[in-house]
Protein backbone atom coordinates (compact mmCIF):
# COMPACT_ATOMS: atom_id res chain seq x y z
CA UNK A 1 0.00 0.00 0.00
CA UNK A 2 1.13 3.54 -0.58
CA UNK A 3 3.30 4.92 2.16
CA UNK A 4 1.56 7.97 3.51
CA UNK A 5 2.09 10.09 6.58
CA UNK A 6 -0.75 8.18 8.28
CA UNK A 7 0.95 4.86 7.67
CA UNK A 8 4.21 6.14 9.13
CA UNK A 9 2.34 7.44 12.15
CA UNK A 10 0.60 4.09 12.63
CA UNK A 11 3.83 2.12 12.41
CA UNK A 12 5.63 4.40 14.84
CA UNK A 13 2.80 4.25 17.35
CA UNK A 14 2.64 0.47 16.98
CA UNK A 15 6.36 0.12 17.69
CA UNK A 16 6.89 2.72 20.40
CA UNK A 17 3.48 3.05 21.98
CA UNK A 18 0.85 5.76 22.23
CA UNK A 19 1.94 9.10 23.60
CA UNK A 20 5.62 8.43 22.91
CA UNK A 21 5.78 10.83 19.99
CA UNK A 22 4.30 14.19 19.28
CA UNK A 23 3.09 14.26 15.66
CA UNK A 24 2.59 17.32 13.51
CA UNK A 25 2.24 17.93 9.81
CA UNK A 26 3.87 21.00 8.37
CA UNK A 27 3.43 21.88 4.68
CA UNK A 28 2.96 18.19 3.88
CA UNK A 29 5.96 16.89 5.84
CA UNK A 30 5.31 14.75 8.90
CA UNK A 31 7.23 16.13 11.87
CA UNK A 32 7.75 13.85 14.85
CA UNK A 33 9.18 14.77 18.21
CA UNK A 34 10.86 12.06 20.23
CA UNK A 35 12.57 12.07 23.63
CA UNK A 36 16.24 12.73 23.22
CA UNK A 37 17.50 9.48 24.78
CA UNK A 38 15.60 7.50 22.15
CA UNK A 39 16.82 9.33 19.08
CA UNK A 40 19.04 6.47 17.88
CA UNK A 41 16.29 3.88 18.46
CA UNK A 42 13.88 5.93 16.36
CA UNK A 43 16.45 6.55 13.61
CA UNK A 44 17.33 2.85 13.55
CA UNK A 45 13.66 1.84 13.31
CA UNK A 46 13.01 4.33 10.52
CA UNK A 47 16.09 2.99 8.70
CA UNK A 48 15.46 -0.73 9.05
CA UNK A 49 11.69 -1.05 8.80
CA UNK A 50 11.08 -2.32 5.25
CA UNK A 51 8.07 -0.19 4.42
CA UNK A 52 9.53 3.00 5.91
CA UNK A 53 13.15 2.69 4.73
CA UNK A 54 14.29 6.23 5.60
CA UNK A 55 17.87 5.49 4.64
CA UNK A 56 19.08 8.88 3.51
CA UNK A 57 19.92 11.60 6.00
CA UNK A 58 19.21 14.79 4.09
CA UNK A 59 20.03 17.26 6.82
CA UNK A 60 20.94 17.62 10.47
CA UNK A 61 20.79 20.97 12.18
CA UNK A 62 19.77 22.61 15.43
CA UNK A 63 17.41 25.39 16.43
CA UNK A 64 17.62 27.49 19.57
CA UNK A 65 14.27 28.24 21.22
CA UNK A 66 15.19 30.53 24.11
CA UNK A 67 11.56 30.74 25.25
CA UNK A 68 11.04 27.03 25.96
CA UNK A 69 12.57 26.33 29.39
CA UNK A 70 14.20 22.92 29.54
CA UNK A 71 13.82 22.52 25.78
CA UNK A 72 16.01 25.33 24.49
CA UNK A 73 17.90 23.38 21.85
CA UNK A 74 16.27 21.19 19.25
CA UNK A 75 18.24 18.92 16.95
CA UNK A 76 16.35 18.41 13.70
CA UNK A 77 16.93 15.43 11.41
CA UNK A 78 15.49 15.46 7.90
CA UNK A 79 15.24 11.93 6.51
CA UNK A 80 14.34 10.82 3.03
CA UNK A 81 13.07 7.55 1.61
CA UNK A 82 14.46 7.78 -1.93
CA UNK A 83 12.60 4.77 -3.32
CA UNK A 84 9.12 5.97 -2.35
CA UNK A 85 9.98 9.69 -2.27
CA UNK A 86 8.89 10.34 1.28
CA UNK A 87 10.38 12.82 3.69
CA UNK A 88 10.11 13.05 7.44
CA UNK A 89 11.42 15.44 10.05
CA UNK A 90 12.51 14.18 13.47
CA UNK A 91 13.08 16.66 16.28
CA UNK A 92 14.67 15.97 19.65
CA UNK A 93 14.69 18.64 22.31
CA UNK A 94 17.25 19.14 25.03
CA UNK A 95 17.83 21.70 27.72
CA UNK A 96 20.68 24.14 27.38
CA UNK A 97 22.46 23.03 30.59
CA UNK A 98 23.38 19.50 29.51
CA UNK A 99 22.82 19.35 25.78
CA UNK A 100 23.89 15.72 25.28
CA UNK A 101 22.51 13.87 22.28
CA UNK A 102 23.67 10.47 21.04
CA UNK A 103 25.55 10.70 17.77
CA UNK A 104 24.00 9.39 14.57
CA UNK A 105 27.37 9.13 12.84
CA UNK A 106 27.54 5.35 13.23
CA UNK A 107 24.32 4.97 11.27
CA UNK A 108 24.87 7.76 8.75
CA UNK A 109 28.41 8.80 7.79
CA UNK A 110 27.03 12.12 6.59
CA UNK A 111 26.10 13.01 10.17
CA UNK A 112 29.76 13.37 11.10
CA UNK A 113 30.41 16.89 9.85
CA UNK A 114 26.81 17.99 10.25
CA UNK A 115 27.05 17.21 13.97
CA UNK A 116 30.37 19.02 14.19
CA UNK A 117 28.72 22.05 12.62
CA UNK A 118 25.83 21.80 15.09
CA UNK A 119 28.30 21.57 17.98
CA UNK A 120 30.28 24.51 16.62
CA UNK A 121 27.28 26.81 16.39
CA UNK A 122 24.98 25.64 19.19
CA UNK A 123 27.11 23.72 21.65
CA UNK A 124 25.19 20.46 21.36
CA UNK A 125 27.40 17.70 22.73
CA UNK A 126 27.10 14.59 20.56
CA UNK A 127 27.95 11.65 22.78
CA UNK A 128 30.12 9.12 21.00
CA UNK A 129 31.17 11.34 18.10
CA UNK A 130 34.66 10.37 16.82
CA UNK A 131 35.96 13.90 16.36
CA UNK A 132 33.75 16.53 17.99
CA UNK A 133 35.58 19.78 17.44
CA UNK A 134 34.81 23.04 15.74
CA UNK A 135 34.60 22.93 12.01
CA UNK A 136 33.71 26.30 10.52
CA UNK A 137 34.69 28.72 13.26
CA UNK A 138 38.15 29.37 14.68
CA UNK A 139 39.28 26.80 17.21
CA UNK A 140 39.86 29.46 19.88
CA UNK A 141 36.23 30.61 19.91
CA UNK A 142 34.77 30.03 23.35
CA UNK A 143 31.09 30.66 22.70
CA UNK A 144 28.41 29.18 20.43
CA UNK A 145 27.49 31.92 17.96
CA UNK A 146 24.12 30.78 16.57
CA UNK A 147 22.49 30.80 20.00
CA UNK A 148 19.98 33.60 20.20
CA UNK A 149 21.70 35.18 23.20
CA UNK A 150 24.60 36.27 21.01
CA UNK A 151 24.01 39.31 18.84
CA UNK A 152 24.97 39.33 15.18
CA UNK A 153 27.95 41.60 15.68
CA UNK A 154 30.96 40.90 17.86
CA UNK A 155 30.55 43.09 20.93
CA UNK A 156 34.23 42.87 21.86
CA UNK A 157 35.52 44.90 18.93
CA UNK A 158 37.15 48.20 19.83
CA UNK A 159 38.21 49.23 16.35
CA UNK A 160 34.81 50.25 14.98
CA UNK A 161 33.61 53.78 15.69
CA UNK A 162 29.87 53.48 16.37
CA UNK A 163 29.37 57.21 15.71
CA UNK A 164 30.17 56.52 12.07
CA UNK A 165 27.54 53.80 11.79
CA UNK A 166 24.72 55.87 13.25
CA UNK A 167 24.77 53.89 16.50
CA UNK A 168 26.79 56.21 18.73
Amino acid sequence: MAVTNDLIQQKLTAKFGEGFFHFEESYGMLTIEAPKEQNLKVLQFLYEEEELAFRFLTDLCAVNYPDLPGRELAVVYHLHNLADNLRIRLKVFTGIENPDIFTASKLFSSANWMERETYDFFGVNFVGHPNLKRILNVDEMDYFPMRKEFPLEDQTRRDKDDEMFGRG
Binding site: Y27, D59, N85, S110, M114, I135, L136, N137, P145
Partner: protein, 410 residues
Protein backbone atom coordinates in the same frame (compact mmCIF):
# COMPACT_ATOMS: atom_id res chain seq x y z
CA UNK B 1 81.77 27.10 19.93
CA UNK B 2 78.98 28.13 22.27
CA UNK B 3 77.36 30.24 19.51
CA UNK B 4 76.80 27.16 17.33
CA UNK B 5 74.57 25.57 20.02
CA UNK B 6 72.10 28.43 19.76
CA UNK B 7 71.62 27.83 16.03
CA UNK B 8 70.58 24.17 16.35
CA UNK B 9 67.11 23.59 14.96
CA UNK B 10 64.75 21.90 17.38
CA UNK B 11 62.86 19.16 15.50
CA UNK B 12 59.45 17.98 16.72
CA UNK B 13 59.26 14.69 18.67
CA UNK B 14 59.44 11.66 16.45
CA UNK B 15 59.87 13.56 13.23
CA UNK B 16 63.07 11.76 12.25
CA UNK B 17 61.70 8.28 12.99
CA UNK B 18 58.43 9.03 11.16
CA UNK B 19 58.07 7.14 7.89
CA UNK B 20 55.53 9.44 6.24
CA UNK B 21 55.77 13.00 4.93
CA UNK B 22 53.27 15.59 6.03
CA UNK B 23 52.14 17.73 3.15
CA UNK B 24 49.94 20.75 3.61
CA UNK B 25 47.76 21.22 0.52
CA UNK B 26 46.09 24.60 0.71
CA UNK B 27 44.30 26.73 1.82
CA UNK B 28 45.88 28.87 -0.86
CA UNK B 29 46.97 26.52 -3.56
CA UNK B 30 46.47 26.70 -7.31
CA UNK B 31 44.97 23.22 -7.39
CA UNK B 32 42.37 23.68 -4.68
CA UNK B 33 39.65 25.67 -6.37
CA UNK B 34 38.52 27.61 -3.40
CA UNK B 35 39.89 27.88 0.11
CA UNK B 36 40.07 24.56 1.84
CA UNK B 37 43.00 22.80 3.37
CA UNK B 38 44.09 19.20 3.41
CA UNK B 39 46.85 17.99 5.65
CA UNK B 40 48.05 14.82 3.97
CA UNK B 41 50.35 12.13 5.28
CA UNK B 42 52.26 10.71 2.33
CA UNK B 43 54.34 7.61 1.99
CA UNK B 44 56.30 8.57 -1.13
CA UNK B 45 53.49 9.39 -3.56
CA UNK B 46 50.79 7.35 -1.83
CA UNK B 47 48.40 8.99 0.58
CA UNK B 48 48.23 7.29 3.94
CA UNK B 49 45.71 9.63 5.48
CA UNK B 50 44.32 13.09 4.99
CA UNK B 51 42.53 15.55 7.21
CA UNK B 52 40.41 18.32 5.76
CA UNK B 53 39.91 21.74 7.25
CA UNK B 54 37.10 23.93 6.03
CA UNK B 55 35.67 27.22 7.17
CA UNK B 56 38.09 29.68 5.61
CA UNK B 57 35.28 31.48 3.84
CA UNK B 58 32.60 31.16 6.48
CA UNK B 59 30.53 34.34 6.38
CA UNK B 60 27.81 33.59 8.94
CA UNK B 61 24.93 33.61 6.44
CA UNK B 62 22.61 31.70 8.75
CA UNK B 63 23.12 34.22 11.55
CA UNK B 64 22.74 37.20 9.22
CA UNK B 65 19.55 35.75 7.76
CA UNK B 66 17.89 35.95 11.18
CA UNK B 67 17.97 39.72 10.86
CA UNK B 68 16.96 40.20 7.25
CA UNK B 69 13.54 40.28 5.58
CA UNK B 70 13.08 37.61 2.91
CA UNK B 71 14.09 39.58 -0.17
CA UNK B 72 17.30 40.76 1.54
CA UNK B 73 18.39 37.16 1.99
CA UNK B 74 18.54 36.54 -1.77
CA UNK B 75 21.98 38.22 -2.14
CA UNK B 76 23.26 35.91 0.60
CA UNK B 77 22.11 32.86 -1.32
CA UNK B 78 23.95 34.11 -4.45
CA UNK B 79 27.18 33.55 -2.64
CA UNK B 80 26.65 29.92 -1.78
CA UNK B 81 27.54 28.07 -4.97
CA UNK B 82 28.74 31.16 -6.78
CA UNK B 83 29.31 29.33 -10.06
CA UNK B 84 25.57 28.82 -10.48
CA UNK B 85 24.03 31.52 -8.31
CA UNK B 86 20.71 31.74 -10.19
CA UNK B 87 19.87 28.23 -9.01
CA UNK B 88 20.45 29.27 -5.39
CA UNK B 89 18.29 32.36 -5.90
CA UNK B 90 15.46 30.40 -7.47
CA UNK B 91 15.66 27.79 -4.71
CA UNK B 92 15.28 30.51 -2.11
CA UNK B 93 12.37 32.13 -3.93
CA UNK B 94 10.66 28.74 -4.21
CA UNK B 95 11.11 28.23 -0.46
CA UNK B 96 9.54 31.60 0.29
CA UNK B 97 6.73 30.87 -2.12
CA UNK B 98 6.08 27.56 -0.39
CA UNK B 99 5.89 29.31 2.96
CA UNK B 100 3.65 32.07 1.65
CA UNK B 101 1.51 29.79 -0.51
CA UNK B 102 2.21 31.59 -3.79
CA UNK B 103 1.49 29.95 -7.16
CA UNK B 104 3.57 31.18 -10.05
CA UNK B 105 2.17 31.36 -13.59
CA UNK B 106 3.54 28.97 -16.21
CA UNK B 107 5.47 31.62 -18.11
CA UNK B 108 7.38 32.52 -14.96
CA UNK B 109 8.17 28.85 -14.37
CA UNK B 110 9.50 28.41 -17.90
CA UNK B 111 11.63 31.54 -17.68
CA UNK B 112 13.00 30.31 -14.36
CA UNK B 113 13.85 26.97 -15.93
CA UNK B 114 15.79 28.68 -18.72
CA UNK B 115 17.83 30.64 -16.19
CA UNK B 116 18.42 27.64 -13.93
CA UNK B 117 19.53 25.37 -16.77
CA UNK B 118 21.87 28.06 -18.08
CA UNK B 119 23.37 28.20 -14.59
CA UNK B 120 23.73 24.45 -14.53
CA UNK B 121 25.56 24.49 -17.88
CA UNK B 122 27.82 27.24 -16.55
CA UNK B 123 28.62 25.29 -13.39
CA UNK B 124 29.30 21.98 -15.15
CA UNK B 125 31.46 23.72 -17.76
CA UNK B 126 33.68 25.11 -15.03
CA UNK B 127 33.91 21.78 -13.26
CA UNK B 128 34.69 19.70 -16.33
CA UNK B 129 37.18 22.14 -17.78
CA UNK B 130 38.95 22.39 -14.41
CA UNK B 131 39.23 18.60 -14.26
CA UNK B 132 40.96 18.96 -17.62
CA UNK B 133 43.26 21.66 -16.27
CA UNK B 134 44.24 19.49 -13.34
CA UNK B 135 45.30 16.73 -15.69
CA UNK B 136 47.35 19.29 -17.61
CA UNK B 137 45.02 20.25 -20.45
CA UNK B 138 44.42 24.00 -20.43
CA UNK B 139 42.91 24.42 -23.88
CA UNK B 140 39.42 23.18 -23.02
CA UNK B 141 39.12 25.54 -20.08
CA UNK B 142 40.08 28.65 -22.02
CA UNK B 143 38.00 27.65 -25.00
CA UNK B 144 34.70 27.21 -23.17
CA UNK B 145 35.18 30.42 -21.16
CA UNK B 146 33.99 32.29 -24.24
CA UNK B 147 30.67 30.50 -24.01
CA UNK B 148 30.30 31.13 -20.32
CA UNK B 149 30.58 34.79 -21.31
CA UNK B 150 27.45 34.40 -23.43
CA UNK B 151 25.59 32.99 -20.43
CA UNK B 152 26.77 35.87 -18.26
CA UNK B 153 25.55 38.33 -20.86
CA UNK B 154 22.09 36.77 -20.72
CA UNK B 155 22.01 37.15 -16.93
CA UNK B 156 23.14 40.74 -17.30
CA UNK B 157 20.23 41.52 -19.59
CA UNK B 158 17.74 40.21 -17.06
CA UNK B 159 19.09 41.31 -13.72
CA UNK B 160 22.13 43.48 -14.31
CA UNK B 161 24.78 41.30 -12.70
CA UNK B 162 26.98 38.58 -14.12
CA UNK B 163 28.18 36.33 -11.32
CA UNK B 164 26.27 36.94 -8.10
CA UNK B 165 23.00 37.58 -9.79
CA UNK B 166 20.31 38.24 -7.14
CA UNK B 167 18.01 37.29 -10.01
CA UNK B 168 14.25 37.03 -9.69
CA UNK B 169 11.86 38.05 -6.96
CA UNK B 170 9.34 36.22 -4.81
CA UNK B 171 6.68 35.42 -7.39
CA UNK B 172 8.70 35.87 -10.55
CA UNK B 173 11.20 38.24 -12.06
CA UNK B 174 11.98 41.89 -11.60
CA UNK B 175 11.38 42.70 -15.26
CA UNK B 176 10.24 40.92 -18.37
CA UNK B 177 12.98 39.39 -20.49
CA UNK B 178 13.82 41.95 -23.17
CA UNK B 179 14.16 41.10 -26.85
CA UNK B 180 17.91 41.48 -26.46
CA UNK B 181 17.89 38.75 -23.82
CA UNK B 182 16.07 36.41 -26.18
CA UNK B 183 18.39 37.31 -29.05
CA UNK B 184 21.38 36.46 -26.87
CA UNK B 185 19.69 33.23 -25.83
CA UNK B 186 19.16 32.30 -29.47
CA UNK B 187 22.80 33.04 -30.23
CA UNK B 188 23.86 30.80 -27.36
CA UNK B 189 21.55 27.99 -28.47
CA UNK B 190 22.92 28.23 -32.00
CA UNK B 191 26.63 28.38 -31.24
CA UNK B 192 27.04 26.35 -28.10
CA UNK B 193 26.25 22.78 -29.26
CA UNK B 194 29.20 22.70 -31.66
CA UNK B 195 31.50 24.04 -28.95
CA UNK B 196 30.38 21.41 -26.49
CA UNK B 197 31.01 18.79 -29.16
CA UNK B 198 34.55 20.06 -29.66
CA UNK B 199 35.13 20.12 -25.89
CA UNK B 200 33.95 16.52 -25.70
CA UNK B 201 36.28 15.53 -28.49
CA UNK B 202 39.21 16.93 -26.54
CA UNK B 203 38.60 14.79 -23.48
CA UNK B 204 36.15 11.95 -23.70
CA UNK B 205 38.18 9.49 -25.73
CA UNK B 206 41.54 11.07 -24.97
CA UNK B 207 43.95 8.34 -23.94
CA UNK B 208 45.81 10.39 -21.36
CA UNK B 209 42.65 11.79 -19.80
CA UNK B 210 41.08 8.35 -19.58
CA UNK B 211 44.17 6.84 -17.98
CA UNK B 212 44.28 9.63 -15.41
CA UNK B 213 40.64 9.53 -14.45
CA UNK B 214 39.36 5.96 -14.85
CA UNK B 215 39.55 4.06 -11.59
CA UNK B 216 40.61 6.99 -9.43
CA UNK B 217 38.48 8.53 -6.72
CA UNK B 218 35.87 5.79 -6.97
CA UNK B 219 33.08 5.27 -4.49
CA UNK B 220 30.30 2.71 -4.36
CA UNK B 221 26.63 3.62 -4.41
CA UNK B 222 26.01 2.37 -0.83
CA UNK B 223 28.86 4.40 0.61
CA UNK B 224 27.82 7.44 -1.41
CA UNK B 225 24.25 7.26 -0.11
CA UNK B 226 25.49 6.83 3.43
CA UNK B 227 27.69 9.88 3.00
CA UNK B 228 24.73 11.94 1.82
CA UNK B 229 25.97 12.40 -1.74
CA UNK B 230 23.53 14.01 -4.15
CA UNK B 231 23.76 15.45 -7.61
CA UNK B 232 26.20 14.40 -10.35
CA UNK B 233 28.55 12.78 -7.81
CA UNK B 234 25.78 10.41 -6.72
CA UNK B 235 24.50 9.83 -10.22
CA UNK B 236 28.00 8.80 -11.26
CA UNK B 237 27.77 5.89 -8.81
CA UNK B 238 24.58 4.62 -10.38
CA UNK B 239 21.77 6.09 -8.27
CA UNK B 240 19.38 8.14 -10.39
CA UNK B 241 18.25 10.63 -7.76
CA UNK B 242 17.52 14.05 -9.21
CA UNK B 243 15.32 16.51 -7.32
CA UNK B 244 13.92 17.85 -10.60
CA UNK B 245 12.36 14.46 -11.29
CA UNK B 246 11.71 13.21 -7.75
CA UNK B 247 9.91 16.30 -6.49
CA UNK B 248 9.37 18.49 -9.55
CA UNK B 249 9.29 22.21 -8.95
CA UNK B 250 8.80 25.16 -11.26
CA UNK B 251 6.97 23.01 -13.87
CA UNK B 252 9.88 20.63 -14.56
CA UNK B 253 7.28 17.91 -15.04
CA UNK B 254 6.32 19.53 -18.37
CA UNK B 255 9.74 18.81 -19.83
CA UNK B 256 11.27 15.78 -21.43
CA UNK B 257 14.80 14.94 -20.33
CA UNK B 258 16.80 11.95 -19.14
CA UNK B 259 19.03 11.61 -16.10
CA UNK B 260 22.50 10.36 -17.06
CA UNK B 261 23.85 7.76 -14.66
CA UNK B 262 27.34 6.30 -14.29
CA UNK B 263 28.43 3.01 -12.80
CA UNK B 264 31.69 3.13 -10.88
CA UNK B 265 31.58 6.59 -9.36
CA UNK B 266 35.13 7.39 -10.36
CA UNK B 267 36.44 10.65 -11.79
CA UNK B 268 35.76 9.61 -15.37
CA UNK B 269 32.13 8.76 -14.63
CA UNK B 270 31.63 12.10 -12.91
CA UNK B 271 33.07 13.87 -15.94
CA UNK B 272 30.81 11.96 -18.30
CA UNK B 273 27.70 12.49 -16.16
CA UNK B 274 28.29 16.24 -16.04
CA UNK B 275 28.96 16.32 -19.76
CA UNK B 276 25.75 14.51 -20.59
CA UNK B 277 23.82 16.70 -18.17
CA UNK B 278 24.95 19.71 -20.15
CA UNK B 279 23.43 18.21 -23.28
CA UNK B 280 20.21 17.49 -21.38
CA UNK B 281 20.13 21.05 -20.03
CA UNK B 282 20.55 22.37 -23.55
CA UNK B 283 17.55 20.29 -24.62
CA UNK B 284 15.48 21.62 -21.72
CA UNK B 285 16.34 25.22 -22.58
CA UNK B 286 15.33 24.67 -26.21
CA UNK B 287 12.00 23.14 -25.14
CA UNK B 288 11.37 25.97 -22.66
CA UNK B 289 12.18 28.63 -25.22
CA UNK B 290 9.74 27.09 -27.68
CA UNK B 291 7.04 26.95 -25.01
CA UNK B 292 7.62 30.60 -24.15
CA UNK B 293 7.26 31.64 -27.76
CA UNK B 294 3.80 30.04 -27.76
CA UNK B 295 2.45 32.58 -25.25
CA UNK B 296 0.67 35.33 -27.16
CA UNK B 297 -0.82 38.70 -26.35
CA UNK B 298 -1.28 39.49 -22.67
CA UNK B 299 0.04 36.12 -21.54
CA UNK B 300 3.38 36.97 -23.11
CA UNK B 301 3.72 39.97 -20.80
CA UNK B 302 3.36 38.01 -17.57
CA UNK B 303 6.58 37.91 -15.58
CA UNK B 304 5.46 37.66 -11.98
CA UNK B 305 2.69 36.37 -9.77
CA UNK B 306 0.49 38.62 -7.70
CA UNK B 307 2.26 38.91 -4.34
CA UNK B 308 1.76 42.52 -3.26
CA UNK B 309 3.30 41.97 0.19
CA UNK B 310 6.69 40.99 -1.23
CA UNK B 311 6.86 42.21 -4.80
CA UNK B 312 7.67 45.91 -5.17
CA UNK B 313 4.94 47.62 -7.22
CA UNK B 314 5.81 49.47 -10.39
CA UNK B 315 7.06 52.98 -9.78
CA UNK B 316 4.34 54.65 -11.87
CA UNK B 317 1.72 52.97 -9.66
CA UNK B 318 3.53 54.05 -6.51
CA UNK B 319 3.23 57.66 -7.58
CA UNK B 320 -0.44 57.46 -8.53
CA UNK B 321 -2.23 54.69 -6.58
CA UNK B 322 -2.76 54.55 -2.82
CA UNK B 323 -2.45 50.78 -2.32
CA UNK B 324 0.78 50.66 -4.32
CA UNK B 325 2.21 53.47 -2.19
CA UNK B 326 1.32 51.69 1.03
CA UNK B 327 2.79 48.38 -0.13
CA UNK B 328 5.97 50.11 -1.34
CA UNK B 329 6.40 51.74 2.06
CA UNK B 330 5.70 48.56 3.99
CA UNK B 331 8.06 46.47 1.90
CA UNK B 332 10.95 48.92 2.02
CA UNK B 333 10.59 49.56 5.75
CA UNK B 334 10.34 45.81 6.37
CA UNK B 335 6.97 45.92 8.07
CA UNK B 336 5.58 42.86 6.33
CA UNK B 337 5.18 39.84 8.58
CA UNK B 338 5.53 36.29 7.30
CA UNK B 339 3.04 33.59 8.21
CA UNK B 340 4.18 31.28 11.01
CA UNK B 341 5.44 27.94 9.80
CA UNK B 342 8.26 25.55 9.16
CA UNK B 343 9.17 24.56 5.63
CA UNK B 344 11.92 22.54 3.92
CA UNK B 345 12.34 22.98 0.18
CA UNK B 346 15.08 21.67 -2.01
CA UNK B 347 16.15 22.22 -5.58
CA UNK B 348 18.66 20.46 -7.81
CA UNK B 349 21.71 22.68 -7.65
CA UNK B 350 24.87 22.20 -9.66
CA UNK B 351 26.19 19.90 -6.94
CA UNK B 352 23.05 18.19 -5.81
CA UNK B 353 20.19 18.76 -3.45
CA UNK B 354 20.41 22.32 -2.19
CA UNK B 355 17.91 22.55 0.65
CA UNK B 356 16.49 25.47 2.58
CA UNK B 357 15.02 24.85 6.03
CA UNK B 358 13.10 27.94 7.02
CA UNK B 359 11.36 28.40 10.36
CA UNK B 360 9.23 31.50 10.69
CA UNK B 361 7.72 32.77 13.92
CA UNK B 362 5.52 35.37 12.26
CA UNK B 363 8.04 38.22 12.23
CA UNK B 364 9.71 40.11 9.44
CA UNK B 365 12.85 37.94 9.40
CA UNK B 366 13.22 34.15 9.63
CA UNK B 367 13.48 32.67 13.12
CA UNK B 368 15.94 30.13 11.74
CA UNK B 369 17.28 29.55 8.26
CA UNK B 370 19.50 26.60 7.52
CA UNK B 371 21.05 25.81 4.17
CA UNK B 372 21.52 22.15 3.32
CA UNK B 373 24.73 22.49 1.38
CA UNK B 374 25.62 19.50 -0.81
CA UNK B 375 29.36 20.34 -1.04
CA UNK B 376 29.78 20.42 2.74
CA UNK B 377 28.11 17.07 3.10
CA UNK B 378 29.92 15.13 0.43
CA UNK B 379 33.34 16.58 1.13
CA UNK B 380 33.40 14.39 4.24
CA UNK B 381 33.97 11.43 1.93
CA UNK B 382 37.19 12.89 0.51
CA UNK B 383 39.58 10.95 2.81
CA UNK B 384 37.85 7.71 1.87
CA UNK B 385 38.14 8.54 -1.83
CA UNK B 386 41.85 9.33 -1.86
CA UNK B 387 43.47 7.17 0.81
CA UNK B 388 45.70 4.59 -0.77
CA UNK B 389 45.90 6.48 -4.04
CA UNK B 390 48.51 8.79 -5.49
CA UNK B 391 48.81 12.48 -4.71
CA UNK B 392 48.15 13.54 -8.31
CA UNK B 393 44.97 11.46 -8.35
CA UNK B 394 43.87 13.17 -5.14
CA UNK B 395 44.15 16.54 -6.85
CA UNK B 396 42.05 15.40 -9.80
CA UNK B 397 39.48 13.88 -7.41
CA UNK B 398 39.22 17.16 -5.55
CA UNK B 399 38.34 19.06 -8.69
CA UNK B 400 36.07 16.40 -10.13
CA UNK B 401 33.93 16.52 -6.98
CA UNK B 402 33.19 20.16 -7.85
CA UNK B 403 33.93 21.60 -4.45
CA UNK B 404 32.89 25.21 -4.24
CA UNK B 405 34.18 26.80 -1.06
CA UNK B 406 31.29 29.26 -0.84
CA UNK B 407 28.81 26.42 -0.61
CA UNK B 408 30.90 24.46 1.85
CA UNK B 409 31.19 27.15 4.43
CA UNK B 410 28.22 29.49 3.89
Amino acid sequence: MTENHHHHVKLPEGSIEKQTTTLNVGPTHPATHGVFQNIMELDGERIVSTESTVGYIHRAFEKIAERRPLYQITPLTDRLNYCSSPINNMGWHLTCEKLLGVETPKRVDYLRIIIMELARISDHLICNSIVGVDTGAYTGFLYVMQYRELIYEIYEEVCGSRLTTNIGRIGGFERNFSNTAFTKLEKFLKEYPSVLKEFENLFTRNRIFMERTIGTGAISAERALNYGFTGPNLRATGVDYDVRVHSPYSSYEDFDFTIPVGSTGDNYDRFLVRNEEMWQSLGIIQQAYRKIQEFKGEEAEVFHANVPEYYLPEKKDVYTKMEALIWHFKIIMGEVDMPKGEVYKSVEGGNGELGFYLISDGGRAPFRLHFRRPCFIYYQAYPELVTGGMLSDAIVTMSSLNLIAGEMDA
